[in-house]
Amino acid sequence: AQSVAQPEDQVNVAEGNPLTVKCTYSVSGNPYLFWYVQYPNRGLQFLLKYITGDNLVKGSYGFEAEFNKSQTSFHLKKPSALVSDSALYFCAVSVPESGYNKLIFGAGTRLAVHP
C-alpha cells in the first residue's frame, strides 16, 4: 500500500540555524512527491514537488528538498530558519489512478523556530 511517514511530531530549531523536516515514502512505481505548509486556520500552501530529474528540488520561501531513491526519502530543508517558518508541514505522495491524481499525506510535522 502507498504510504508516507513523517517520523517527527515536532521539530525545534533556533532562528538562523538550518532545518530539516523528514519524510519517507512507500509507493509502487516512480513517486511524485510534494511538500505543503499550513499556517493556523489556513489552507495548505504548496511549497515544492519532485516529479523527475535533479534530486535537489528548490521551492518557495527558500525551501528545498532532496529526493533519495535508495532511502525512499524526501526531506525538506532550509539553510537558515526564520521565526515566520513556524508552521505545520506536510509531505505527500501522488498515486496516479484512472482519471485523477490522489495525494496521500503524512501526518504532519510541526516546526517551531525560536528567536
Binding site: 511524485y32 510534494f34 505543503y36 486556520n41 489556513r42 489552507g43 495548505l44 500552501q45 504548496f46 514537488k49 516529479i51 505545520l88 506536510f90 501522488s94 496516479p96 482519471g99 485523477y100 491524481n101 490522489k102 495525494l103 499525506f105 503524512g106 501526518a107 504532519g108
Partner: protein, 112 residues
C-alpha cells in the same frame, strides 16, 4: 491565475442539523476537485473527489455527501450532522497527471 474559494469560513451547527459547504474555482476549466477533512490540526483525510460534473467518488463511508452541479462548483452536504463531523474542511483542485493540488482557505465546522 487559479483561485479557489470556500464558504463559509466558520460554522457552528447543532447535532442533527443539515450542512452545506461550498467550494468554487476560478481560472481553470474541468478541474479535478477534492474534499478533505482535517481533524485536530493534523492529518488530512480525503472524503470525496470529482473528475467532472455529476461525477463523485467517495473515499470513506460517512455521514456526508458531495455534489458537483457545475464545472467549477463542489458542494459538501449532510442531512443530519454528528458531533464527529466537526473539523476543518478543505477543498482542493488539480489538473490531470502528477500535478500538485491547490487548496482553498478551509471551513472550520464545529458541531455542538
Amino acid at each position: 491565475s487559479q483561485t479557489i474559494h470556500q464558504w463559509p469560513a466558520t460554522l457552528v451547527q447543532p447535532v442533527g442539523s443539515p450542512l452545506s459547504l461550498e467550494c468554487t474555482v476560478e481560472g481553470t476549466s474541468n478541474p479535478n476537485l477534492y474534499w478533505y477533512r482535517q481533524a485536530a490540526g493534523r492529518g488530512l483525510q480525503l472524503l470525496f473527489y470529482s473528475v467532472g460534473i455529476g461525477q463523485i467518488s467517495s473515499e470513506v463511508p460517512q455521514n456526508l455527501s458531495a455534489s458537483r452541479p457545475q464545472d467549477r462548483q463542489f458542494i459538501l452536504s449532510s442531512k443530519k450532522l454528528l458531533l464527529s463531523d466537526s473539523g476543518f474542511y478543505l477543498c482542493a483542485h488539480a489538473g490531470l497527471g502528477p500535478y500538485e493540488q491547490y487548496f482553498g482557505p478551509g471551513t472550520r465546522l464545529t458541531v455542538t
